[in-house]
């Protein structure tokens, strides 16, 4: 039926000499937004968690998808470049965890602050550094964001404090940024990320203590990708419920492979901090598709070969989003 209509329109266009934009589907077929059910988050010391329904607009969906795609391709390219020895030293790849970075960025404001550990290429991109400057930095060129002097783990941008090489050291730094936000009274928050491997660091517990004492607007986020380097969480942590490890700090456990779940949880956490209630903890359950770093001889995915198909289909973050749109 539509084809007949479009043919007729095309026919009339050439007769009149007017130009008509004809497409097989009109814009009326695209919905401006859709509402989704998202996975309910486990909570610790909270009466209620983030909402389990959310609305995704067309623009947002396309933007998240595009960002995640760019991040994935950038990381895979970095993988290639490392194998060609064009990138040297350390290269910790973020592919698999894209939904975390994109969801967090969607849940905070551009003038909020963010600090993470060495698996930082994704966050460097979401915080505004162009892919060209990231790849130039990785390849040691002066067009890089740190003029080639920093490398993979030391890239900085406005309100983005890296890229930190020492496991766990970024968490007190993040609490310090939150202290500055509170000091200035500007209702900004700081997101301080760390991994399941870092979650046992003493300085993180020192940060929890001071952040809670002084009610710092700090969102502590543990990206739990189930492996600290090569050691699985069961072999490293006596308590693997990382969202509860803050003890006196409320916590949420979030599906880190679903960008909308991450976005809603981050918005919830940011509102909590901005209201002056103090810090909050989020655990994002996610997965990385490469080894710990490019020096890693075998990635955990290979160890679980039979499950990898499952993982790719069930938990690949952008496939989830793509199928939904």
């Amino acid at each position: 039926m539509l084809t007949i209509v479009s043919n007729a329109l095309r026919g009339s266009a050439s007769k009149n000499g007017t130009r008509l934009v004809v497409s097989a589907r009109s814009y009326a077929d695209f919905t401006p937004q859709v509402s989704f059910d998202i996975k309910r988050c486990d909570v610790h010391r909270l009466d209620q968690g983030p909402p389990d329904k959310t609305v995704l607009t067309r623009e947002q969906g396309l933007q998240y998808y595009r960002t995640m795609q760019v991040m994935r391709r950038m990381e895979l390219k970095a993988d290639q470049l490392y194998k060609q020895k064009i990138i040297r030293g350390f290269c910790h790849l973020y592919d698999g965890q894209e939904a975390c970075a994109v969801g967090i960025e969607a849940g905070i404001k551009p003038d909020d602050h963010l600090i993470t550990a060495y698996r930082a290429h994704g966050y460097t991109y979401t915080r505004g550094v162009p892919v060209k400057e990231i790849l130039a930095e990785l390849t040691g060129r002066k067009g890089g964001v740190a003029k080639g002097k920093g490398g993979s783990m030391h890239m900085y941008a406005k309100h983005f404090y890296g890229g930190n090489g020492i496991v766990g050291a970024q968490v007190p730094l993040g609490a310090g940024v939150a202290l500055a936000c509170k000091y200035h009274g500007n209702s900004q928050v700081c997101v301080a990320l760390y991994g399941d491997g870092a979650a046992n660091q003493g300085q993180i517990f020192e940060s929890y203590n001071m952040a809670a004492l002084w009610k710092l607007p700090c969102i502590f986020i543990c990206e739990n990708n189930k492996y600290g380097m090569g050691t699985s969480v069961e072999r490293a942590s006596a308590n693997t419920d990382y969202y509860k490890r803050g003890d006196f700090i409320p916590g949420i456990r979030v599906d880190g492979m679903d960008v909308l779940c991450v976005r809603e949880a981050t918005k919830f956490a940011a509102d909590y901090c901005r209201s002056g209630k103090g810090p909050i903890l989020m655990e994002l359950q996610t997965y990385r598709y490469h080894g710990h770093s490019m020096s890693d001889p075998g990635s955990p995915v290979l160890l679980y070969g039979c499950c990898s198909f499952f993982l790719v289909r069930g938990t690949n973050p952008w496939i989830k989003l793509k199928s939904v749109s």
């Binding site: 740190a146 404090y161 730094l173 500055a180 936000c181």
Partner: protein
């Protein structure tokens, strides 16, 4: 007419009387200020001058400071700007560095620098290296301050000197004041500096009063970081020192002056960047060098000075090898007599000066006063 004649007769007296009536300028008032008060006033003035400056550390607020250096500041500025921390150095040093990255200007106090070892990763990897790693994008305007080096009877774990450790690292500025003028001026410079500065105080100097000139009392008085000061001029030998040992060098110089040896005493003031030019110029003049420090000899401040003198023009002017007077290469013992002999004393400095200058030493041996050039030959010539 009579008044005029009177005036003329009185002459000089009248003039003097006339002058006496004027309001004449008082001589500049210098004050006796202890090092503790100098530090306190410097912090007070900088807190007032810039809203972004704040102080955090253990016991700095309600306790008035473990050594009372921050006395009165919490009462004046309140909880927002003078923050008591839990006993978690790694955590609060990291928080201080993070706040500096976000635009504040923290003063992070370590109760002693021995405890900074718990936080040294934050000082070096998070603070010192960041400006370089970010190619200038991210500065860290922080001051780490606290007492450094030997105290009295606090034994091995509380007596280490960290001048050499921190002086080793590019990205840090390291200063070590001696007197009140140093303390005041250098702390102000450190707080105003956009780089991370390690400020090494000395607990035994806190209570010592020094004269502060009127110029040094002004609110904008700063001592430049990276410039040494010649405390005493001399022609025969150069003594280079920092912190408390400067006082010992001056005392040794006073005693040696009676024997006709004029020592030039240089107060380093800054460990990094070291003012080697002042030392070189002095060595070129005196031809002899002795370095004096409280820390251990291996890889220490004196070792660096000697290496740099060898690498520069002053080497050709040395008439004798440069000598280091340092703390003894052992963990600090507790017993007073052992502790006293583990840090340089005035007699050790004098001994090294005389040995370098090849001046005979007066040594007491078996009740006899002997003149010899070296203690060893006394035992040999038995």
């Amino acid at each position: 007419m009579a008044a005029l004649r009177c005036f003329l007769r009185s002459g000089k007296n009248a003039v003097a009387a006339g002058l006496r009536r004027e309001i004449h300028q008082t001589a500049p008032a210098s004050l006796q200020v202890t090092v503790r008060d100098a530090l306190n006033q410097a912090m007070d003035e900088e807190l007032e001058r810039d809203d972004r400056v704040f102080l955090l550390g253990e016991e700095v607020a309600q306790y008035d400071g473990a050594y009372k250096v921050s006395r009165g500041l919490w009462k004046k500025y309140g909880d927002k700007r003078i923050i008591d921390t839990p006993i978690t150095e790694m955590g609060f040093a990291g928080i201080a560095v993070g706040s500096a990255m976000a635009g504040l200007r923290p003063i992070c106090e370590f109760m002693t620098f021995n405890f900074s070892m718990q936080a040294i990763d934050q000082v070096i990897n998070s603070a010192a290296k960041t400006y370089y790693m970010s190619a200038g994008l991210q500065s860290v305007p922080i001051v780490f301050r606290g007492p450094n080096g030997a105290s009295a009877g606090v034994a091995a774990q509380h007596s280490q000197c960290f001048a050499a450790w921190y002086g080793h690292c590019p990205g840090l500025k390291v200063v070590s004041p001696w007197n009140s003028e140093d303390a005041r001026g250098l702390l102000k410079s450190a707080i105003r500096d956009d780089n991370p500065v390690v400020f090494l105080e000395n607990e035994l100097m806190y209570g010592v009063p020094f004269e502060l000139s009127e110029e040094a009392q002004s609110k904008d008085f700063t001592v430049p970081i990276g410039k040494a000061k010649i405390e005493r001029q001399g022609n025969h030998i150069t003594l280079v020192s920092h912190s408390r040992m400067v006082g010992h060098c001056l005392d040794a110089a006073a005693v040696l002056a009676k024997e006709g040896i004029e020592c030039e005493v240089i107060n380093l003031r800054t460990i990094r960047p070291m003012d080697i030019e002042t030392i070189e110029a002095s060595v070129i003049k005196t031809n002899h060098l002795v370095t004096v420090e409280g820390g251990w000899p291996q890889f220490g401040v004196g070792a660096e000075i000697c290496a740099r003198i060898m690498e520069g023009p002053a080497f050709n002017y040395l008439d004798a090898p440069a000598v280091r007077v340092t703390g003894v290469d052992i963990p600090m013992p507790y017993a007073k007599i052992l502790e006293d002999h583990s840090v340089p004393q005035i007699k050790d400095i004098m001994f090294s000066v005389k040995k370098t200058l090849n001046v005979p030493l007066r040594v007491k041996y078996r009740g006899h006063i002997l003149l010899c050039h070296c203690v060893l030959c006394c035992s040999v010539s038995q």
